[in-house]
Amino acid sequence: MDLTILIISLAKIAVVLTVLFTCVAYVVWLERKVAGRIQNRWGPHRTGPFGLLQPAADFLKALFKEDFTPAQVQRPIYFLAPFLAMTLALMSIAVIPFGENVTIAGRTIFFEITDLNIGLLYIFAVTSLGVYGIALAGWSSGSKYSLMGGLRSSAQMISYELGLGFAVVGVLILSGTLSLRGIVNAQSGFWFGIIPKWYIWPQFVGFLVYLTAAFAETNRTPFDLPEAEGELVGGFHTEYSSLKFAMFFTAEYTNMITVACLATLLFFGGWMAPLPWAWVQHVPALVLLGMAALMTRTALRTYRLERRKSYFAVPGLAGIVGLIGLAFLHPVFAAVAAPMFWFASKVFVFLFLYIWVRWSVPRFRYDQLMHLGWKVLLPVAAANILITGLVVAL
């Protein structure tokens, strides 16, 4: 065990954690903006241009808010629960590969923190442990609402964990390995030279089951009854305030990102480009330049309406995006970064889908939720496994 390996790991972990926290913060921003637009209003608007500093403002508020510990909580477990939730949410990112392995100057760069042989099993193990964060939070708060919310949330999570487990067996039959990098590599190639061999085509039903189970696992609408404000006050996080509440919140969004990453890895070919043609390699550059142009245009138009100096920061950001887009013209950079671009765009599509579904669909009643998990998803997923098995064997 080299010291250089340790140092490289440390560097990779630091970079990944930084990027992850930024992503989580801006997924929250995206959610609020998209929610606002769906509800025909602006969303965060005042803090910084386009509300871009809203996550920072929220974090500072959570930091400075008074945090009282009610008298009836069981202290050690009450304090342990947010740590558990947050740490476990972060642990799943350790095995997610972001891009192709590249060899530069004789040294191979691995685009993941580590590639385990049992990558998928590791993620399911961490997800199973995630139930504890919620169950212990609900119990230790000593209030009826928290206990009820915690129990119901845990029961929901374990019911849909089964669906999740069954749904990916089809993918495993096709790919023959539990390693996430192996599963993505098994999806390389094109049928008829044009259709990518992603597992979404043969495993469409499996994908739908996976998506539904994932929505329920992360306690997102339409499955967010255990933490719904109207029904159970706050559910398991009623008695938590300020930063501890923010930890649960962050853990939920991190879980969302993990699930979105898994969906792209398992069903959408991870970091592989969707079409095999030569001009596709220019798409990242074009998209990024287009984004930069759009950002500049929107900022200038909004400045004309609002006359706030802060809008001049956006063309600066747009400039950075544009520079990255131009860098894609350099072949070495393109070889390293293009897979990450495709991966990031697919994950973004899933996160947008999550947010879109949340603000368009009413939530399930608890018995409807359980009915779906036990009586619909399990048989459907099992049938999917059998049919996949039959087709592959024959």
């Binding site: 065990m1 069981q74 050690p76 477990i77 385990l116 042989n117 049992i118 099993l121 590791y122 399911f124 193990a125 997800t127 199973s128 442990l129 139930v131 504890y132 169950a135 212990l136 119990w139 206990l147 129990l151 845990s154 029961a155 374990i158 964990e161 390995t177 539990l178």
Partner: protein, 167 residues
């Protein structure tokens, strides 16, 4: 050297967790320390290059069975019961029995002390653990596997029959 270090870490987690499980007053605390013990066992599996078993240990034991325990503790409100006076008039008999078992175990360990060695270097071309388990289980050990399904069926039926008053 690093091998031994990890072994002792996991072993101490297991033993400490076990000790704390049986000495806590609150049932939930005991459950949490039991979780720590089971995670230590998963670590030991990992140390023995059995990664699939480590993953399965976490998923099933920690993520399933301990959740069941916690649900029962929370539902039945065992903490309340634990604070009432336990009857332990026969503590001397328990001590005697424990000492007898402990003596037997120590004697067995003493007789077999030549067999305790750390495993040698692992050959580099071992098949991944999952594939190896799959091969073994579904080709050589098919019958125990099918019997396991019957046991699961029995467990399913038993759980529901015992839990529901009016079926």
């Amino acid at each position: 050297m690093l091998d031994q270090f990890f072994f002792y870490i996991f072993a101490s987690v297991i033993l400490l967790g076990g000790l704390l499980t049986i000495t806590r007053r609150s049932a939930v605390h005991s459950a949490i320390f039991l979780i720590a013990t089971l995670l230590g066992i998963a670590g030991l599996f990992l140390h023995l290059q059995a990664e699939f078993l480590a993953g399965v240990q976490v998923i099933l034991y920690v993520g399933g069975i301990m959740v069941l325990f916690l649900f029962v503790i929370m539902l039945v409100n065992l903490d309340q019961a634990a604070r009432q006076r336990q009857f332990n008039r026969q503590w001397w008999l328990a001590l005697l029995a424990a000492a007898a078992v402990c003596g037997e175990a120590l004697y067995g360990l003493y007789r077999g002390r030549g067999a305790f060695t750390f495993p040698g270097a692992v050959p580099g071309n071992m098949p991944p653990n999952t594939q190896a388990v799959g091969n073994a289980l579904y080709q050589n050990y098919m019958l125990p596997f099918e019997v396991a399904s019957i046991m699961l069926l029995v467990a399913m039926v038993g759980a529901v029959v015992m839990a529901k008053k009016r079926l």
